[in-house]
């Protein structure tokens, strides 16, 4: 089974590719660039095309399939899919698939399931990464606020932190928010660090 993966994220394409290879699917072709995509796909003539839902080239690709004179013309997986919940899950994960007409459902299902799991894993990774980044940013702003307090109020570092925490508890806000307010005020009112 020849599988084409079209994605505008190289990182996600790599995650999908790895998963498919691990499952013993080795006839894989990755396309990241939209330029000349139609011609490249035609030359590749895949049995299955996997594409991220946010890809702006989906309409172009479907037009190409509709016009294709090739015997094996890929159609949206949804046409031959009776399992509504599986489709909803794929849409939810952010993936679309096109399958050449005539390819048996039993052969497609595992590929699609695998792709969906990989997309979900990638989405989780992205979320975790974003969270880690924002935690890092928060720690930075708390450190900055502590420095301001130490300098302006002559406090030790533990006391500066204690002051931040007490104020956060009293005003029912997060420490990072209090810290951000202090940093913003300092920037606005002058007194570069």
């Amino acid at each position: 089974m020849r599988i084409a993966v079209i994605d505008d994220s190289a990182a996600r394409a790599a995650v999908i590719e790895e998963g498919l290879r691990d499952a013993g699917l080795s006839d894989l072709h990755i396309f990241l660039d939209r330029h000349g995509l139609a011609a490249k796909l035609e030359a590749c003539s895949p049995d299955v095309v996997l594409m991220n839902l946010e890809n702006p080239s989906r309409d172009m690709l479907e037009e190409t399939f509709a016009l294709s004179r090739a015997l094996a013309r890929p159609i949206a997986m949804f046409v031959d899919q009776s399992d509504e919940s599986a489709i909803a899950e794929a849409v939810d994960a952010g993936i679309s698939a096109y399958v050449v007409d005539g390819l048996r459902k039993e052969r497609i299902k595992p590929v699609l399931d695998l792709a969906v799991r990989r997309f979900q894993a990638f989405n989780r990774l992205q979320t975790e990464l974003a969270e880690a980044r924002s935690q890092l940013a928060e720690r930075k702003v708390v450190d900055e606020a502590k420095l301001i307090l130490m300098k302006k109020r002559g406090l030790s570092e533990p006391d500066a932190y204690k002051l931040l925490r007490t104020h956060a508890m009293q005003s029912n806000r997060r420490i990072a928010d209090i810290a951000q307010a202090i940093v913003t005020a300092e920037n606005l009112l002058g007194g570069a660090l």
């Binding site: 839902l53 702006p56 080239s57 479907e62 190409t64 509709a66 046409v79 909803a88 849409v91 939810d92």
Partner: protein, 402 residues
């Protein structure tokens, strides 16, 4: 008061304005609706979310609602269009050297003269073996059918002498600059982006092809519209109010600023405001030109889903070879547009309601009063550039004219 959640899918285009304004200006909330807007980058994805339950309704190119009902490329899912989000607002932008070649650089010629010149160039290039290639935003888009209508009506053998391909709107300017295409029919602000970059010149606007051409619609699954009519009524009342706000000149700038935001069009407020104000810069370095009714989102029952509009689109789908004409298909296509829902939503309000559900498209040459069941309604000229008219009851005779 608890609000009913409702999700609407959209593409980043100026004519997604009514749902966006309904949300941002609290008009949906006034109607008890918690509107969530889901932005996508292709019509394919907007449609998939609509079919598979990710969204409750969508900002959709009108012919795609018909295609979905007729089961083209997807399993057939009957759609309902209770409200038209706007008429026209698209332009034809071509590479600057081609605009020079047909004497249309920086001037808006009438569609007949321009069509003849373009047809001559298309024929020449086809004979030379270098067919011109035009982009449209989707196979089943009003852009595709309006462009084909204009070219065919100007004497072009569309199937033989010209190539029409699909290009996503955000790629229009890039595709022109890379010579992947020679021209494109696309909505705003994407023509203006190409003009600003000096890679394209606007030579025509769709309102000069059909003065009252149906463009984007609010589409939803017919079953959903039947099951919860009341929330649909409230939603389209909110959208109608958004239309009032959209055309208010005092609000143009503020509306453009909202649309330009990162979560909506993520584009230039300046270019968006020009489209809203019907002021279009044809070529880089020129002053904007006022093109009356370039976009048409509110006046004259613009939002009323005339069944004859759906019928006209079906006729164009037949002409393009996208569907094989059948009585069953024609009836199904016409049933997509739902004036009954529109009427029910506005019964007892100040909104004028036409008495008829279909009209002779292209049949009005000067502003005319029409029969209503509520309020007073004047309809302005709705001519096609070639002077033809479309009678939904005479589909065969219309198609036989080709």
């Amino acid at each position: 008061m608890s609000l009913d959640p409702f999700r609407i899918g959209f593409l980043p285009l100026v004519d997604a304005a009514l749902p966006i304004l309904a949300q941002e200006l609290g008009l949906a909330e006034e109607q008890g609706i918690d509107l969530e807007l889901v932005r996508d980058m292709s019509w394919a994805t907007v449609r998939d979310r609509l079919i598979y339950g990710g969204t409750d309704a969508a900002h959709l190119v009108a012919p795609l609602a018909l295609a979905t009902t007729l089961g083209l490329d997807r399993p057939a899912v009957p759609m309902a269009v209770p409200f038209v989000l706007g008429l026209n607002g698209n332009a034809v932008t071509i590479a600057p050297p081609l605009a020079e070649a047909i004497g249309a650089h920086g001037a808006l010629l009438d569609s007949v003269t321009l069509g003849q010149r373009l047809a001559a160039l298309i024929a020449l290039r086809a004979r030379e073996g270098t067919r011109l290639r035009f982009g449209v935003v989707h196979r089943y888009s009003s852009h595709n059918y309006m462009l084909q209508y204009w070219l065919r009506g100007s004497g072009v053998d569309v199937a033989r002498d010209v190539e029409i391909v699909t290009i996503a709107p955000p790629f229009a300017a890039e595709a022109l600059s890379l010579r992947e295409i020679d021209g494109i029919c696309v909505g705003e602000p994407w023509n203006s982006v190409a003009v600003e970059r000096g890679v394209g010149v606007i030579v025509n606007v769709t309102s000069h092809i059909w003065l009252r051409g149906v463009e984007k619609v609010l589409a939803m699954q017919a079953a959903r519209a039947e099951a919860e009519p009341e929330i649909v009524h409230r939603l389209i009342r909110a959208l109608y109010k958004a239309g009032e706000v959209f055309i208010d000149p005092a609000r143009h700038s503020a509306n453009a600023a909202i649309l330009a935001r990162a979560e909506y069009l993520d584009g230039s407020a300046h270019l968006i405001e020009r489209a809203i104000a019907d002021r279009i810069t044809l070529a880089a370095g020129q002053e904007p030109l006022h093109i009356p009714d370039f976009m048409f989102q509110h006046r004259e029952a613009a939002n009323f889903p005339w069944v004859s509009q759906a019928a006209w689109l079906y006729a164009q789908m037949v002409r393009a070879g996208h569907v094989v004409k059948s009585d069953v298909g024609y009836a199904a296509a016409q049933r997509v547009f739902r004036p009954d829902i529109y009427r029910a939503a506005f019964a007892g309000t100040q909104v004028p309601l036409p008495g008829a559900s279909a009209k002779l498209e292209g049949g009005i040459s000067e502003t005319t009063g029409v029969g209503t069941v509520q309020g007073r309604l004047l309809l302005g000229p709705d001519r096609f550039f070639d002077g033809r008219a479309f009678d939904p009851d005479q589909l065969d005779a219309y198609l036989a004219q080709d």
